[in-house]
Amino acid sequence: MIELKNVAFTYQEKIVFQELSLKVEKGQKVGIVGESGCGKSTLLRLIAGLYRPAEGGVTVDGENDPEKISQKVSIVLQTPMLLPLTIRENITMGHAFSEEWIRQVCAASNLTKWIETLPNGIDTYLGDRADELSGGQAQRIAIARAMCKNAQVLLLDEPTSALDGENAAAVLEALDHFGEDKTVLHVTHRPEHLVGYDRILRMEGGKLLEANASCAWRAVSL
């Protein structure tokens, strides 16, 4: 379960949130929409323990220490953030996983075919110019990395924004499949990507609004 209680957060002297509260039950799929710059990505980073609230508290599965929260979540960001390592190392980040598991996550993130075309396969060194990969390839590696960690909380920050329609559909399908038994928070500009989600939230003026059954927005409260 994810819980934010009266969270206040300031970024570079600008108030982003004040008294922000949210509760997401275990296994729930929650979509978050809103204008650019309204704080959607910041919210995910707060939940992931990357940012620390000025006031209030963030807990993930009962844990409120940001370092420990980071261990409980996986994240796919708009930019893939790959490192000058091999594909395998980018996926596992140097941790020990079974070959079978790595093979599964590569298949789930539609990487297998492309990897098979590379001379060194999954051990191909991406170098420090990983951004030379196509947006789709890089993002699918980032998704494989998130899948490989297999955390119970999956945070998605516009994971398909840099992808074309076909790639985006494949990535979304892979993420839907992977996130079936997980708690998912998905930030997007495109509400059509949130079909089948349990809850849709809209961020506006530093507040979270929730659509009710008649599609009217009301403030989220605990």
Partner: protein, 322 residues
């Protein structure tokens, strides 16, 4: 001088200035050697004659020459060389930036950020060191002049002792030169490449910090940075070991030659060698030859090491001309 460095100097419009600088500095060491050798010979002779007045007169004359010689070195030449050094750094960095900016984004992306940073910093410094670092090109040229002239003087003074000095010197010089000078640039170049990899990690550490934290990638990141860092150290250590070996060879060769000259000189005393004062003078010139050979050897190895920077700088400058 390496043709690549000549091309860089010409492209920066500093070639003529560099040649003038070289001419201004070249005779210094030899004049110093002549002064030292003659002073020793004359002082020993006067001391034997116990002529205090003459000794004092000679002392003041030599002091005046020494002051003039070092005064010239510390003022005129130092000013010229420092200005040339500054100008070289300034023009080379500017030219590199211009070349980088004139390239397309695609060409820029052919090299990593770390590679560019290394070329702009340590490679420029290395190229400048090749030319202006006191013990490099400039001193090698001065040492060669000193070596040739000291050899001529020693040959005139005593051909047999000159031959003995040369026979000891040559094998050791070539041993050091062949082993050390050929291998050092390879190690230094590898160290530079490792440095580029090391610097290349700075950007991802900053830009992908969030992914590193969430996916607990600190350990692998650190491991890779350490690998690059160890590689720099490893290659530099190899180069240092070779340099140390070269110094050892030089010292051994120096002492062996000195001993040989004293033994031979002693047996020639009164015939081919006039007196102990003249033998001291001969050993002074041999000392100068030895010092020059060591200087050439050290300068050569450092120049070769710094040449790796010049090669990388020229790769960029050459791209513009294409």
């Amino acid at each position: 001088m390496d043709r690549r460095v000549v091309r860089i100097l010409k492209s920066l419009g500093l070639w003529k200035r560099f040649v003038v600088m070289l001419i201004l500095r070249s005779p210094f060491d030899f004049l110093n050697a002549v002064l030292g050798a003659n002073m020793l010979e004359r002082f020993l002779r006067i001391a034997q004659q116990q002529d205090a007045q003459n000794l004092q007169r000679n002392f003041w004359s030599f002091l005046l020459f020494t002051v003039l010689l070092f005064g010239y070195n510390a003022t005129i030449w130092a000013t010229v060389s420092v200005r040339a050094d500054m100008l070289f750094h300034e023009r080379l960095r500017t030219r590199l930036f211009e070349t980088m900016l004139s390239q397309t984004q695609q060409e820029m992306e052919e090299r990593s950020a770390g590679d560019w940073i290394t070329r702009l910093n340590s490679d420029v410094d290395k190229t400048a060191n090749y030319l202006t670092e006191p013990i490099n090109f400039m001193h090698r040229s001065i040492a060669i002049v000193n070596l040739v002239l000291s050899s001529v003087v020693l040959m005139i003074l005593n051909a047999k002792l000159y031959l003995a000095a040369i026979l000891v010197m040559i094998p050791f010089f070539f041993l050091g030169a062949v082993i050390v000078i050929r291998k050092i640039p390879t190690y230094r170049k590898k160290a530079q490449e490792a440095f580029a990899t090391y610097v290349s990690w700075m950007e991802p550490i900053v830009n992908a910090g969030e992914a590193i934290r969430i996916f607990d990638g600190g350990q692998i990141t650190l491991q890779k940075v350490e690998e690059a860092s160890k590689e720099i150290l490893r290659e530099n250590m190899r180069a240092h070991r070779l340099t140390a070996f070269s110094s050892l060879v030089n010292i051994f060769s120096g002492n062996l030659g000195y001993l040989l000259l004293l033994l031979m000189g002693n047996s020639m005393m009164g015939s081919e060698v006039r007196d102990f004062a003249q033998l001291s003078k001969i050993t002074q010139y041999r000392g100068e030859m030895m010092r020059s050979v060591m200087c050439v050897s050290n300068c050569q190895s450092r120049m070769k090491a710094n040449l790796s920077g010049a090669i990388r700088v020229e790769e960029v400058l050459g791209k513009k001309s294409q």
